[in-house]
């Protein structure tokens, strides 16, 4: 996606008719940040600078918005992003143990990335899979009912980079 070619009216949709130009430009800020992050994995500074020019918004304002939301990141992230759910149901069923084990294994704390960019470890409020607690999300895939065995598989998967589908672990 090229920031220069960004079509504000198309992005905001039909509602553009009732909005001022500034509102329109501001209205597409969050969806655009999502798209940038999808492409690059994080929000690179040079792209935010050109976005600031394109949308006529001060760079500080863009940073103010992006830094408010937890999903936006300003530094490169690992190949595998493991988000351990620490929602109520997972907490009650032992999410902390899963998190502790991963932290110990890779010597990083939650919210950090390993130096070789193989893993970013995060926690998430709730992914809505409480029936399968404890749960972790690996990139976009949900792994449920994590026990010692699944955790071992997961650690091996991160270390070797070979994808093991959660379904295969099950069977």
């Amino acid at each position: 996606m090229k920031i220069e070619d960004l079509d504000v009216d198309e992005q905001i949709g039909r509602v553009s008719r009732v909005l001022s130009e500034h509102d329109r430009k501001k209205g597409i800020l969050i969806p655009t940040l999502h798209r940038v992050q999808e492409e690059h994995g994080y929000l690179p500074e040079d792209i935010l600078r050109s976005l600031s020019k394109r949308l006529d918004l001060p760079l500080a304002e863009i940073y103010s918005v992006a830094s408010f939301y937890k999903q936006f990141h300003f530094i490169p992230r690992g190949k595998k992003v493991v988000r351990v759910c620490t929602g109520t149901a997972c907490h009650v069923r032992g999410a902390q143990k899963v998190l502790d084990r991963l932290q110990e294994e890779f010597q990083i704390k939650e919210g950090e990335t390993t130096p070789d960019l193989s893993l970013t470890l995060e926690t998430v409020g709730c992914v809505g899979c409480c029936g399968l607690a404890p749960v972790a999300v690996v990139n976009e895939e949900v792994i449920g009912e994590i026990g010692p065995r699944k955790l071992r598989e997961l650690i091996r998967e991160i270390k070797t980079g070979v994808t093991v589908k959660s379904e295969d672990i099950l069977e």
């Binding site: 949709g13 039909r14 509602v15 009732v18 909005l19 509102d23 501001k26 209205g27 597409i28 800020l29 969050i30 969806p31 940040l33 999502h34 103010s64 918005v65 408010f68 939301y69 937890k70 999903q71 936006f72 620490t86 929602g87 109520t88 149901a89 997972c90 907490h91 009650v92 069923r93 998430v124 409020g125 709730c126 992914v127 809505g128 899979c129 409480c130 029936g131 399968l132 607690a133 749960v135 976009e140 895939e141 949900v142 792994i143 449920g144 009912e145 959660s166 379904e167 099950l170 069977e171």
Partner: protein, 631 residues
């Protein structure tokens, strides 16, 4: 897809679809492809069935949304026989093909059983989990493919819209919703009809209809299931609301953690637009409605109405003081009057319009009519989504539908309403569940999360957990919430690590009241609720933590006295290995813990394979004193 020019076209299309879709003479597999079932492997099951389908079986595969019983996933139903299978694996597909599809008999090993020796249940409706449920908001979940608008129309979808557009004026629609006394399913229970009316009366030609799908409460996933499994019912509800209050634009605000919901909603919106059910001149009636999806970016506070509006506008998701309310000029998105309801509320609207307000009033209780979807989770045997009539007791939900506590341990409490709700103890198990009775008990309906806790759960730890959630999600705008929750959390940290001081509990109570009064939005006002309700019902646990340095659930570290029970110990030595502080000492025939070295880190307790390490109450100070006097 051909655009429908008028209402008659929609009727004809439905008649045709009714005959073609879900024919009784054809085998049909309805596999759940909700997030939870996909995580336990339902894609593989679908793949295997597709392979079987290419081998010449006349077979229709319907990939449905969440069917409710998430824990036993992947679940599926075979029609027309109606067998319900759970924990289906890819390798079971050949069995299903050879037994059910060929000769119409159930595969007994896949049927639901309460325990290995119990007789299995063959059909979905006979399962205790489903028996007591009444499905209104979830009426189509598990019956249709959410990515196929024709399925929705075939089971009677968009009939309420048809009725509203062809036979009712906007005022009549509003009147029906008001009479049905539909209360907002998002938590507070404000009557939807009143809200709509307020927005309708607001001056200005441009109005917005917004659906709040920022379901951030940990332990709640009913909105996700509706958005994923039956997006058209949400769209239809919003369309009817837009017609009633004369709004032209709409947004569905979905949190970013629900990628499948966003995908399914986008598909549904496109299909509805292609059919002419959204956009310009809907069904030739001259009504326009433009609907769009907006994604959040991971901020819990954006579930608060004013913060949500700020987020749609592209700002930081800060709440602001009210008035102006959203429905007033200057209050909604970009200042236009807006009507904001929860996903589940909108999904309840079409059946109300179709069946009339009296039908809705006949379900549930007098002040809280209708049904409510709960996400039943925690330490209960059958976890998943349940929709029950209001007024049902907690006991029925937890023990009849949920099947009781895992491992038949003792029930301790149920937490309702997410981080803003509270804990309800065993003594109130027969409490009828509705908006008012839960508020009276010091909790709230909330969005409908229900987390069951057993004797192994420490209530102080639970309160600390919820508070730390609110503390980290606090947006930081107003000091009572930003500073107050932090201070409370520090006190709770102290209590749970054995450093509690006398007076801490009273200090907590005082702070709770101040934060409730002083905070700007629902997040801060609700944050003290879990602490208040646990102090109210489980005060003795707090007191144990503070005065006796003991945690009866043995969850908190740094509390209690550690001792090795010599009559049980079989001298494996694992506790000595586990101890990082050299507190486990060895004699010739026993191990013991040196209290001077012990940091109460629980490592030995967790390491012991036969639970011979005991955590015991510290003797009270005055008891020690009296013993010394006796000496």
């Amino acid at each position: 897809m051909e655009r429908l020019g008028n209402i008659e076209d929609l009727r004809k299309l439905r008649l045709n679809l009714k005959e073609e879709t879900f024919r009784p003479d054809r085998h049909r597999i309805k596999v759940c492809t909700g997030t939870a079932c996909v995580a336990s492997g339902s894609r593989k099951v679908v793949d295997e069935f597709e392979r079987a389908g290419t081998k010449g079986y006349d077979l229709e595969i319907v990939k449905t949304g969440c069917q409710g019983l998430c824990q036993k996933g992947p679940v599926m139903k075979v029609e027309p026989e109606g067998y319900f299978y759970q924990k289906v694996k890819g390798s079971d597909v050949s069995d299903i093909v050879s037994t059910t599809l060929s000769i119409g008999k159930p595969v007994r090993s896949l049927l639901f059983r309460e325990s290995v020796i119990d007789e299995p249940y063959e059909f979905m409706d006979t399962l205790p989990f489903y028996k007591k449920q009444v499905r209104v908001a979830l009426r189509n979940n598990g019956r249709i493919d959410p990515n196929n608008i024709y399925h929705y129309i075939a089971v009677g979808g968009y009939r309420a819209l048809e009725k509203a557009l062809s036979t009712m004026t906007p005022d009549e629609v509003l009147e029906v919703v008001k009479r049905a006394n539909l209360r907002g399913r998002g938590g507070a229970g404000f009557p939807a009809g009143k809200k709509w009316e307020h927005c309708k009366k607001a001056p200005g030609r441009i109005k917005f209809v917004i659906a709040n799908g920022d379901e951030g409460d940990p332990g709640a996933f009913m909105d996700r299931s509706i958005m994923e499994g039956d997006p058209h019912s949400l769209i239809e509800g919003m369309l009817i609301c837009a017609y009633a209050i004369d709004a032209e634009y709409g947004f569905i605000y979905v949190r970013h953690e629900y990628p499948l919901a966003v995908k399914n909603l986008r598909i549904a919106l496109r299909q509805a637009e292609e059919l002419g059910l959204l956009g310009d001149n809907i069904l030739g009636t001259g009504v326009n409605f433009y609907l769009d999806v907006r994604e959040g970016a991971g901020a819990f506070v954006c579930g608060e109405s004013t913060a949500l509006v700020a987020s749609i506008e592209g700002d930081r998701g800060f709440p602001r003081p009210r008035p102006p309310r959203l429905s007033e000029p200057g209050g909604g998105v970009w200042g236009y009057p807006s009507n904001l309801n929860n996903i589940e509320t909108y999904a309840c609207v079409p059946p109300i319009i179709e069946n009339g307000p009296d039908w809705f009033l006949s379900i549930g209780t007098k002040n809280s009519p209708g049904t409510k979807v709960f996400a039943l989770t925690g330490k209960v045997k059958n976890t998943g989504l349940v929709e029950v009539p209001m007024g049902i007791t907690l006991r029925e939900i937890i023990f009849d539908i949920g099947g009781g506590i895992i491992g038949d341990k003792a029930f301790k409490a149920v937490q309702t309403g997410g981080p803003s709700g509270g804990c309800i103890p065993a003594s109130l198990l027969d409490l009828p569940v509705d908006f008012d009775s839960l508020t009276e008990a010091g909790s709230m309906m909330g969005s409908g999360g229900m987390v069951v806790m057993d004797e192994d759960t420490c209530m102080v730890d639970v309160a600390k957990y919820f508070l730390s959630f609110c503390q980290s999600e606090s947006c930081g705008k107003c000091p009572p919430c930003r500073v107050g929750t932090y201070q409370m959390l520090q006190i709770l940290e102290r209590i749970t690590s054995g450093k509690g001081e006398p007076g801490d509990i009273e200090r907590l109570e005082r702070m709770c009241k101040n934060i409730q009064k002083g905070s700007l939005c629902g997040l801060g006002q609700g944050a003290p609720n879990p602490v208040l309700s646990t102090i109210r019902y489980f005060r003795e646990e707090y007191e144990e933590h503070v005065y006796e340095h003991y945690c009866r659930a043995k969850v908190c570290r740094g509390l209690g006295v550690f001792r090795i029970e010599h009559s049980e110990c079989f001298l494996c030595g694992l506790c000595k290995q586990a101890c990082a502080y050299d507190a486990v000492k060895e004699t010739r025939d026993s191990y013991f813990i040196d209290q001077d070295y012990c940091t109460k880190c629980k490592a030995c307790y967790l390491a012991c394979p036969i639970n011979a390490v005991k955590i015991e109450r510290q003797p009270r100070k005055e008891q020690i004193g009296s013993r010394e006097v006796q000496k």
